[in-house]
């Protein structure tokens, strides 16, 4: 049971989004609490990435409200950049900055956005590179790294801002199979530290290990939610049963 003592990190109400005539998000309500790990699953085109990207307003929504860490992010009075400082995001395609070294990838936003000194930013960056296991690559350009290493740089880059919430958009889908583990390990450790995480993924092993709640989406709607075990054992919705059969 949820208790009211937990702080709400994300509160979505009636969120609706169209791409032309296509309804990508259909009246979605969702609460995510501080410290909670939520995994979103669903077939491609189900709206799960769009849902995630609307939480830091990389997607504009057509109706509804989204409150992140107390800020109504579609309110014109709210500075979205301030909210984004507290919301880290990891992309399927990594999106590391190829013209900056690994270290500079981690320090750029700290210096420009958080206004930290170079020294302070580098100290934080080195500590995070240790954590994701690529300190020795600090002065290398990320294009020289493997996909798994690039994704770990991207995670460290987001963590360097010391966000209160992390969004992961299919972080392992573009990786070769042998590199998926190293990225998931970093994410599992992050979960153990208590980070609030919303993760779009098909990695059910990861979901089983860290997720407090799994959400199944299709047709732009949340069709079912429950524990990871619930989805392994007895999903009730026909679409969810079908989907679980396909990915397991």
């Amino acid at each position: 049971m949820r208790t009211d003592t937990r702080k709400t990190m994300v509160e979505m109400r009636g969120v609706t989004k169209y791409y032309g005539a296509l309804k990508a998000l259909d009246n979605v309500d969702l609460d995510v609490y501080e410290g909670e790990r939520v995994v979103i699953i669903g077939p491609s085109g189900s709206g799960k990435s769009t849902l995630l990207r609307s939480i830091n307003r990389l997607e504009e929504i057509n109706a509804g409200t989204i409150v992140v860490d107390g800020f109504d992010i579609y309110d014109p009075q709210v500075n979205i950049n301030k909210v984004r400082e507290e919301v880290g995001m990891v992309f399927q395609q990594f999106n590391v900055f190829p013209h900056k070294t690994v270290l500079e990838n981690l320090t750029l936003a700290q210096i420009v956005v958080r206004k930290r000194s170079r020294k302070e930013a580098e100290d934080i960056a080195y500590a995070l590179l240790d954590k994701v296991g690529i300190r020795e690559k600090a002065h290398v350009y990320p294009t020289k790294l493997s996909g798994g290493q690039q994704q770990r740089v991207a995670i460290a880059r987001a963590l360097a801002m010391q966000p209160r919430l992390m969004l992961f958009d299919e972080p392992t889908s573009a990786l070769d199979p042998e590199m998926i583990g190293e990225v998931l390990d970093v994410m599992v450790n992050l979960a153990k530290e208590g980070m609030t995480m919303i993760v779009v993924t098909h990695e059910m092993g990861f979901a089983r290990e860290v997720a407090d709640r799994v959400i199944f989406m299709d047709f732009g709607k949340i069709l079912e939610e429950g524990s990871p075990e619930h989805f392994f054992v007895s999903p009730t919705h026909e679409r969810a049963q079908q989907f679980m059969r396909q990915i397991l």
């Binding site: 950049n81 995001m89 992309f91 999106n95 190829p98 013209h99 936003a109 956005v113 991207a154 801002m161």
Partner: protein, 205 residues
């Protein structure tokens, strides 16, 4: 043929001043063409369409005789202004294409870290776009250097203008214009080579 070094200096002066100003105009025009603000976008598009539809020589006359007389501009200033305004429109399209060549994920990553659109453009997009932008800018530089001979029609003592004066005094038309043509050719060949070396270096990175 003492006119050659003095003439080259003025030709370079016109070319370098024009290209630098054209780059600045081009940057803002390119950004304007990509702006979601309708007014800014419309103005930038109008500028590009108008300038590209009018011959450079007509623009030179328009600014030199029209505006230059009105505002009492010295010949060199009017000439540089006209060349820069003309080439700025072409540079704008180069900047626009260069910025558009950077994958959308780069600006999304920058914005997701809390950067403003301007910070994202300055720290993330433009440094990467430079690689795409530099080679065509080099080509524009060579084109501008050749087009700068048009200012000889105004009272600007560039290479061609000094050559024309020298020829009419010495009656050595054939020799003088051969010399002028060869000097232009050597300069443009030199810069073309420099640009292709630069391009190869960028591609090797």
């Amino acid at each position: 043929m003492k006119f050659v070094p003095d003439g080259i200096l003025v030709t370079f002066e016109v070319t370098v001043l024009s290209i630098v100003i054209a780059l600045v105009i081009g940057l803002f025009t390119g950004l304007g063409r990509l702006s979601s603000n309708r007014l800014v976008n419309g103005l930038a598009s109008l500028y590009v369409e108008v300038i590209r539809g009018i011959p450079l020589l007509v623009q030179l006359f328009y600014i030199y005789y029209g505006l230059g007389r009105l505002f009492q501009l010295p010949p060199l200033t009017s000439a540089v202004a006209a060349m820069a305004i003309c080439y700025g429109a072409y540079m704008g399209e180069i900047f626009r294409a260069g910025i558009q060549s950077i994958p959308k994920g780069q600006s999304e990553a920058a914005r997701s870290l809390g950067m403003t659109p301007a910070q994202s453009m300055y720290h993330v997009i433009l440094p990467q776009a430079v690689k795409t932008i530099l080679p065509p800018v080099g080509n524009e530089f060579v084109a501008l250097l050749k087009d700068s001979s048009l200012v000889s029609i105004l009272a600007v003592a560039d290479l061609l203008r000094r050559g024309r004066e020298f020829a009419s005094q010495s009656f050595t038309y054939f020799e003088t214009y051969t010399m002028v043509a060869l000097v232009y050719l050597m300069i443009t060949l030199f810069f073309s080579k420099l640009i292709s070396i630069m391009e190869e270096k960028i591609r090797a990175d």
